[in-house]
């Protein structure tokens, strides 16, 4: 008997992605969908896409979704989860959405320990608007609004989301991954699954940052983009687990009478 080893995820619609060739969003979408399938949570999952390239995520994810104004995903997701505690709620955000305009909403959702999952796509630029400087743009990286490169004296430094959010007591699980290589993709999927499982188990806020290529705005080939992630971005944004209190939370959840 032939065994199916690869198929289109059920939680992903059959639509053709509008994303540019080599863009990391398509990979991240697929990974999230695969995790939703594997966990059998399609029917109870509610997603909140961002403003940005992934604003049309509801055309791809075959789960209930509601659009949030730019940066407000975690506020909306917090409220949805509070009203429907037995549903699985995730927000999907870019670097501008999470680390600039929506830093307050994201920070405080994490600090409240909202039992939601944030998928954070870090591609170091504003993609949809044409490649402007993002809060995560690297020093000296050229963008349309940092045409001579990001200058620390004038533009400040790349915002390290995982490093900051892992300091918040409300956050349970914070990991940074990269989809720049097959190994990185596998690791990212594991992290996403762990984050969703953390939520399903009622253990609190989880965030997975995904270093993700944007060949169009980086003006690189997809292959060079992946190399740039590994050789340049990963130096500023090292992948790894920044916080994992899943075991402790589980223990205290078991100890505390509900």
């Amino acid at each position: 008997m032939a065994k199916t080893v690869f198929k289109h995820p059920e939680s992903l619609k059959e639509a053709v992605f509008h994303y540019c060739p080599g863009c990391g969003h398509s990979i991240a979408h697929r990974l999230v969908s695969e995790v939703i399938d594997e966990m059998g949570i399609r029917g109870i999952t509610i997603g909140v896409p961002p403003a940005g390239c992934a604003v049309l995520a509801y055309n791809y994810f075959d789960v209930d979704m509601i659009e949030a104004p730019h940066g407000r995903g975690p506020a909306m997701a917090s409220a949805i989860k509070r009203c429907l505690p037995d549903r699985v709620v995730f927000s999907y955000q870019g670097d501008g959405d999470l680390a600039a305009i929506g830093i307050a909403e994201s920070f405080h959702a994490a600090n409240r320990g909202e039992n939601i999952t944030v998928i954070f796509i870090n591609n170091a630029v504003y993609g949809m608007t044409g490649g402007q400087m993002a809060p995560t743009t690297m020093l000296n990286q050229r963008t349309t609004t940092s045409p001579t490169g990001r200058k620390k004296e004038l533009d400040g430094y790349p915002v390290k989301v995982c490093e900051i959010f892992s300091q918040l007591r409300g956050a349970t699980y914070v990991e940074r991954c990269s989809v720049s290589s097959p190994a990185g993709v596998n690791k990212t999927k594991k992290a996403i699954k762990k984050a969703f499982q953390c939520q399903v188990d009622g253990l609190g806020f989880s965030l997975v940052e995904v270093l993700s290529p944007c060949p169009t705005n980086w003006k690189m080939t997809p292959i060079d983009s992946c190399k740039w992630i590994d050789e340049v971005m990963a130096k500023e944004f090292p992948p790894g687990v920044f916080k994992d209190e899943i075991a402790e939370m589980k223990k205290s959840a078991e100890a505390a009478p509900c």
């Binding site: 399609r42 029917g43 109870i44 999952t45 509610i46 909140v48 604003v55 049309l56 509801y58 994810f61 075959d62 789960v63 209930d64 979704m65 509601i66 659009e67 949030a68 104004p69 407000r72 506020a75 909306m76 997701a77 917090s78 409220a79 949805i80 509070r82 009203c83 429907l84 549903r87 307050a104 909403e105 920070f107 405080h108």
Partner: protein, 348 residues
């Protein structure tokens, strides 16, 4: 009960089960009331948000799940909420926004004012949309109209604003809470997970201009139906009046005091009080101008509702204006003096 507490209690009785807010004077008692009472009712959620922007987006999210929702603030905070109000209008999400107005512009002050009329009645945020705006003038109306606001928000699937001011919020009056209507809100509009069925999405982003235009016209037709069916107003002593004051909320209360005084001096003064500011009861006001030719608009602003009165009367009557912006609250005798001057000048 204070006006702020009345709104909170009425909301909970009307089935509001999600409230998010951020501290700002002079509406803090409402947020505090919700903090104390919301978590004690079954399914009730109270969240103190990190900002006004977060609060409005929280109620949008909660509303999408099919829960009755409310947020409240005062003028500067309402400015911050406009992004979310526009978004709720676009996504056709019901919800109640309470604005306990204070002096502006900018941070202004914390005294009662009516300077947010334009913002409230013209949508306030970006894009082609309206919100129903209700302006209670008594504690009892705060109770009744807050409950009605939830029904209207559900009926038309849109944000509804309760527009009051610091005076209304802080003032204490006895009230009787009526029995709320059973909620009628179809499940098909609720986002609660797809189950085994087709997934839904709620969005205001419509990239195709033709589709987007169709959505805008659909909203416009809804607003037309509201304009034709949902106006509320009060006429007070207009039957024999030779001059009618047009005022809403706290101004209308002051006007009633002035009218009592003026009537005792034989001056025939009446009051027309719009209760819905949008839709503005323009046909009723115009009808009044068939026999009354002198109107005086009185607002705690530099003249905002004045423009709607001009549009309603279309030049068929004389319109005078008296305004006290920036948190100044006139006394009935001040207004009475102004009205008497106009009344006598016109030799009525």
């Amino acid at each position: 009960m204070s006006g702020n507490n009345v709104i909170g209690e009425a909301a909970i009785r009307a089935g509001c089960r999600f409230y998010a807010g951020y501290p700002i004077t002079p509406q803090n008692e409402l947020t505090e009331y919700m903090a104390e009472h919301m978590r004690t009712v079954e399914g009730g959620v109270f969240l103190q948000s990190e900002s006004e922007i977060a609060a409005i987006n929280m109620i949008a999210g909660a509303s999408a799940t099919g829960v009755r929702v409310m947020t409240s603030s005062s003028s500067p905070g309402i400015s911050l909420k406009q992004e979310g109000i526009s978004s709720m209008a676009a996504c056709e999400l019901p919800g109640i926004i309470v604005n306990i107005m204070r002096g502006g512009p900018g941070l202004g002050n914390i005294r009662p004012s009516q300077g947010d009329y334009f913002q409230a009645t013209r949508g306030g945020g970006h894009g082609d949309y309206r919100t129903i705006v209700i302006a209670p003038a008594t504690g009892q109306e705060l109770a009744d109209l807050t409950m009605d606001a939830f029904d209207l928000a559900d009926k038309y699937r849109m944000p509804v604003m309760i527009l009051a001011d610091g005076m209304m919020g802080q003032m204490m009056e006895p009230v009787i809470f009526k029995k709320p209507n059973p909620r009628q809100y179809p499940e098909k509009f609720m986002l609660r997970g797809a189950g085994t069925g087709k997934s839904k999405f709620i969005h205001g982003l419509i990239l195709d201009p033709i589709d987007s235009e169709a959505h805008n016209w659909k909203l416009a037709r809804k607003y037309q139906v509201i304009a034709e069916n949902e106006t509320l107003f009060e006429e007070h002593r207009v039957d024999d009046a030779e001059l009618v004051i047009v005022a809403y909320g706290t101004s209308a209360r002051i006007a009633k005091g002035a009218i009592k005084r003026l009537r005792s001096h034989g001056m025939k003064i009446g009051l027309f009080r719009p209760i819905t500011l949008w839709p503005f009861p323009e046909l009723k006001l115009r009808a009044l101008s068939a026999k009354i030719k002198n109107f005086l608009v009185f607002e705690m602003s530099t003249g905002q509702m004045l423009e709607d009165v001009r549009l309603a009367l279309q030049g068929y009557a004389n319109i005078e204006f008296h305004g006290r912006p920036g948190g100044a609250v006139p006394t009935p005798s001040e207004l009475a003096n102004v009205v008497a001057r106009v009344y006598n000048k016109k030799d009525l």
